[in-house]
């Protein structure tokens, strides 16, 4: 037990240790709760840590669930706070849901609960998952454990930072335009967005319904496969979910002989930092060493993808967030004289600036007389982006790119420049528009900060994608861990 390092322990290893009785669920949970107590004041990964419930549940697993343990029993897990959890306040990082206690649990989370994971807490995010730095949370900004002066990426920055800092064994995030992969990249961990429809969205607080997808943030590709296996599946409560037509396998591949890999020139055209580019090129050579064949390809509509995304996502969001009106739950402005004032003040006071910006963009894009020029056109572009991928995958098994054009940037450096912030998602957004699965794995450091390598597969190719990522992960051998300044200091208080 004393030898366990929360910065290096994988879920697959923890599962084995629990099964073989080398560690108890209570000990494992305690390891993470102590780590949270120690580093959370620097990282601020969580909105809420459920220390008592976690410890109590872990003890219950040890004492009473000897014969009937679920497949993930006792594994300490963090959940992004835009997934609702019954009786546990779920804020989506917004003031408007600051004290909202859900009456049900999201399907993906419930499936993990059914396998007896221990929920450590709810992680921070950009408000309603709108952002790429986790600075848009209504509560606090999360810091990157590699350098607390930089952001962890976003919007699943809390989940990514928690895993990277050893504050969770693994975590769930959600990805609308890169919100799992980009923070995974910036925090030096693995993050996977499954094919659209593989995982139920029921209970995921909707940002952009046609793009949102829940996925794993883990320390290894194998862990991502294990977690995906348990969260995926068709859900009668989500009409857009279809599950995966196969059992997700924990990958074992060591070679990539004959795998055809495309490198889209549009993703490398501009704005990729030199350090990122260097790591990326080195990783391409590793792919070749493993037996893969590389081809430069073109995805010609890439340059329009970002624009289309920033119409479609805000348009859907403008409707999805309209239910937060102060009538039934959540924040309601006090002392209003009439209905319109209540709506206006509730929403003005309840939402942050970025959320308001996107609601306004989306409302405008859908308004009468502009619909065709904006929303209609964006949908046509989306189709073309998907066609690009379909054409490419007719010849290829995988497409690869840097996950993010840069490493973690300084806290506050882009908050006044929304466009620069939006550019963080240049390489990830087209994947959501096309509904494809993609995974980001760490491929080295640049200026002491992690660089992520993205692998994109055809729809429903998760096993092949995980196999390739696993083989490449082995070859890369990324072993660095963040050195948190101040970590290990006794810290009295855990954030509430």
């Amino acid at each position: 037990m004393s030898g366990l390092d929360p910065l290096r322990l994988t879920a697959l290893e923890a599962k084995r240790l629990l099964r073989e009785g080398e560690v108890s669920a209570a000990e494992l949970t305690s390891l993470y709760l102590r780590r949270i107590a120690a580093v959370e004041p620097l990282v601020h990964a969580y909105i809420q840590v459920c220390a008592d419930d976690a410890a109590r549940y872990a003890a219950l697993i040890d004492s009473e669930m000897t014969a009937s343990r679920g497949a993930l029993a006792g594994l300490p897990t963090a959940i992004k706070d835009n997934m609702v959890t019954e009786g546990v306040v779920s804020t989506s990082g917004s003031r408007i849901l600051q004290s909202y206690s859900p009456v049900y649990t999201a399907t993906a989370v419930r499936k993990l609960f059914d396998e007896h994971v221990v929920m450590l807490g709810k992680t921070n995010l950009d408000e309603f998952a709108m952002g790429s730095s986790t600075e848009n949370s209504a509560f606090h900004a999360t810091r990157n454990p590699w350098d607390v002066g930089t952001v962890p990426g976003g919007s699943s920055g809390g989940s990514a930072a928690a895993v990277a800092a050893g504050e969770a064994l693994w975590a769930l995030g959600s990805d609308t335009g890169g919100s799992i992969r980009q923070p995974a990249s910036l925090c030096g961990i693995v993050g996977m967005k499954p094919t659209y429809g593989a995982v139920s969205r029921y209970g995921l607080v909707a940002f952009a319904s046609s793009l949102d997808q829940i996925g794993p943030l883990t320390r290894s590709v194998g862990d991502a496969a294990l977690l995906l296996r348990h969260i995926s599946g068709a859900d009668p409560q989500d009409s857009t979910s279809v599950g995966l037509p196969f059992e997700v396998e924990v990958p074992t591949a060591e070679r990539l002989d004959g795998v055809r890999v495309g490198v889209p020139r549009e993703y490398l055209a501009a704005g990729i930092d030199d350090g990122v580019r260097t790591r990326f090129d080195e990783t391409l050579r590793l792919l070749e060493d493993l037996g893969a064949g590389l081809t430069e390809i073109s995805l010609p509509h890439t340059e329009h993808a970002l624009a289309a995304y920033y119409i479609i996502a805000p348009a859907e969001a403008s409707a999805n967030l309209a239910r937060f009106d102060g009538v039934r739950y959540g924040y309601r402005a006090a002392g209003c004289d009439d209905l319109v004032e209540m709506y206006e003040r509730t929403r003005s006071e309840g939402f942050g600036a970025e959320v308001k910006r996107r609601i306004m963009i989306g409302t405008y894009a859908l308004s009468s007389g502009y619909y065709d020029a904006y929303y209609g056109q964006a949908q046509r572009v989306r189709r073309l982006v998907k066609d690009d991928f379909d054409a490419a995958f007719a010849q290829l098994d995988l497409i690869v790119s840097p996950t993010s054009p840069s490493v973690a940037f300084a806290v506050g450096s882009r908050t006044d420049d929304p466009l620069a912030m939006y550019m963080s998602d240049l390489c990830t957004i087209p994947v959501n528009l096309a509904g494809l699965p993609a995974i980001s794995i760490p491929c080295g450091l640049s200026e002491g900060l992690p660089v992520g390598f993205q692998l994109i597969g055809p729809a429903f190719s998760e096993n092949a994608l995980l196999s390739a990522a696993h083989a490449l992960e082995r070859a890369i051998g990324f072993a660095a861990v963040p050195e948190l300044r101040g970590a290990g200091q006794a810290v009295a208080e855990v954030t509430p």
Binding site: N82, M83, V84, S90, S92, L97, Y100, P102, V103, Y104, A106, R201, Y202, G203, L204, V205, A206, A208, S209, S210, P236, Q237, D238, S239, T240, A315, E316, S318, A319, A322, R323, D325, V327, R328, Y329, L339, Y343, T363, L366, S367, S368, Y371, Y375
Partner: protein, 483 residues
């Protein structure tokens, strides 16, 4: 001749009587305590998602097919966005440019005229919750506070949109009545108006008589009374004509009808109209309609009122009016057919059903088929008339006594000696008595006042308490007087 003619179109909303709501598993129920049929989906809690009710789609397809619509291979749900406390998501899931069904037709009767109205579309959506405004006005403006009952929120609705083919307020009322009868026949809604299970918006414009062009229309929103609709249209029509004759333009606006004053007042103008920002509902995949399934639904449709009315005309030799009165709604039609199956004379049975029987139902507050008067009992009376066993007027007495004494018609006849007197000798004696008692009238008749025949027959009937065979009496009177 009228210089102006009205053009009226309707949007009819029908609440379907499915077990559960349109997009969640909550029960569809009326009259239960407020907010007892709710869940995360119909309360629009964060993260909740809609799932289409398959039975609601089937019911909507029934309506569409009964209206002769075609059902395209796929249809798409859209979000219709607006803020209001009765709409928890702040958007209604509805359909927009790819509806469930299009291009139908509804034929209806206005007096003896058969009119046809084109159906533009039939689409599916969800109902809003119920708002109750505290305060005197009963409307949101000026109320102290409002409370919301979400039981109704999410009830499946079908919207039927007609083309502007309706030529008069009276025709609009008739169309709606007959459309309601059709929908009830389909078993998809009870269309209880007091419960708001069927409601409609009407749009009306006027144009020079004979013109093909449509004038500017106004809309009357959310009515659920045939009478108010007709009144509202009848008050709006001269208003528009007056505006046009004054050389001004009708403003496109939504109007509110006040039944107390009988007038319309503007609710909002075109400029103030909502921008609903329709876009495809990303939480639902397009509905793909399996043609084989649609045909199954079609094959399972019941006989529709129009077809039944036509069949009644042919099968029973009834007039258009009688066939419609008996055949347009299923409960009465079923009663009539059951009675007719006994072999009773159809025309006589029709008269008795529409006359004595309907009057009885109304007085007793019963639905057709309920109560003591079964089809067999009514048929029994009619058969006795046809067989000459009772006279027509005695039969009315049999009907009344049957109800008070709860006995079979034949037994009543027996018990009260109401059998028809067809015995020539007995009736001849009665005729002779009447003639003896009325010498002046006999005189007058013989002087040429032939109308008095009826008087003598009536007197004989009276004497026999209506039991006499009226035709025979008539012949005997004439014979006696002509001697």
């Amino acid at each position: 001749m009228n210089r102006w003619e009205p053009v009226i179109g309707l949007e009819v909303h029908v609440e379907l009587k499915t077990q559960t709501k349109m997009f969640c598993g909550c029960a569809v129920a009326y009259g239960d305590p407020p907010n007892t049929h709710t869940c995360p989906v119909c309360l629009a809690h964060p993260g909740a998602l809609p799932v289409v009710n398959r039975r609601a789609v089937e019911y909507a397809v029934r309506i569409a097919l009964a209206l002769g619509c075609s059902v395209p291979p796929r249809n798409v749900f859209h979000r219709k966005n607006y803020f209001y406390p009765d709409l928890p998501k702040a958007y209604q899931i509805s359909q927009f440019d790819e509806p469930l069904a299009v291009n139908g037709r509804f034929d209806y009767w206005v007096d003896d005229e058969r009119l046809s109205c084109r159906i533009n579309r039939v689409h599916m959506e969800e109902d809003a919750a119920k708002l109750v405004h505290a305060g005197e006005s009963g409307r949101i403006a000026g109320s102290e506070y409002s409370i919301v009952d979400f039981n109704r929120g999410g009830t499946p609705l079908v919207e039927i949109v007609t083309e502007p083919d309706i030529p008069s307020p009276a025709a609009a009322g008739e169309l709606l009545r007959q459309l309601r009868d059709l929908i009830v026949e389909l078993g998809v809604s009870d269309c209880v108006m007091e419960e708001g299970q069927v409601r409609w918006d009407a749009n009306i414009s006027v144009r020079p008589a004979g013109s093909e062009e449509l004038g500017t229309r106004t809309e009357l929103k959310n009515m659920n009374s045939f009478r108010f609709l007709q009144q509202a249209l009848e008050s709006e029509l001269p208003r528009q004509i007056a505006v046009l004759e004054a050389g001004e333009n009708v403003l496109q606006e939504t109007l509110h009808f006040d039944p107390e004053t009988g007038t319309t007042t503007p609710l909002r103008s075109k400029e103030e109209a909502h921008d609903y920002r329709y876009f495809p509902e990303p939480d639902l995949v397009p509905l793909v309609m399996d043609p084989a399934w649609v045909e199954e639904v079609r094959a399972a449709l019941p006989e529709l009122p129009a077809a039944r009315v036509e069949r009644f005309r042919q099968q029973y030799g009834l007039s258009r009016y009688d066939a419609f009165a008996l055949g347009n709604t299923r409960p009465l039609a079923t009663f009539f057919e059951a009675a007719a199956a006994s072999g009773a004379d159809a025309k006589l049975l029709a008269n008795w059903t529409m006359g004595t029987y309907l009057a009885y139902l109304k007085e007793a507050g019963l639905e057709p088929g309920a109560g003591f008067v079964t089809p067999a009992r009514l048929a029994g009376i009619v058969q006795m008339i046809a067989a000459g066993a009772v006279s027509g007027s005695a039969a009315k007495e049999v009907f009344a006594l049957m109800l008070t004494e709860r006995a079979e018609p034949a037994e009543i006849v027996e018990r009260h000696g109401l059998g028809q007197i067809s015995d020539q000798d007995a009736l001849a004696a009665a005729v002779a008595t009447v003639l003896d008692q009325n010498p002046a009238e006999v005189e007058a008749y013989r002087a040429g006042k032939q109308k008095l025949l009826g008087f003598f027959v009536g007197q004989v009937m009276k004497q026999t308490r209506g039991r006499a065979d009226a035709a025979l009496v008539s012949a005997l009177v004439r014979k006696a007087l002509d001697e």
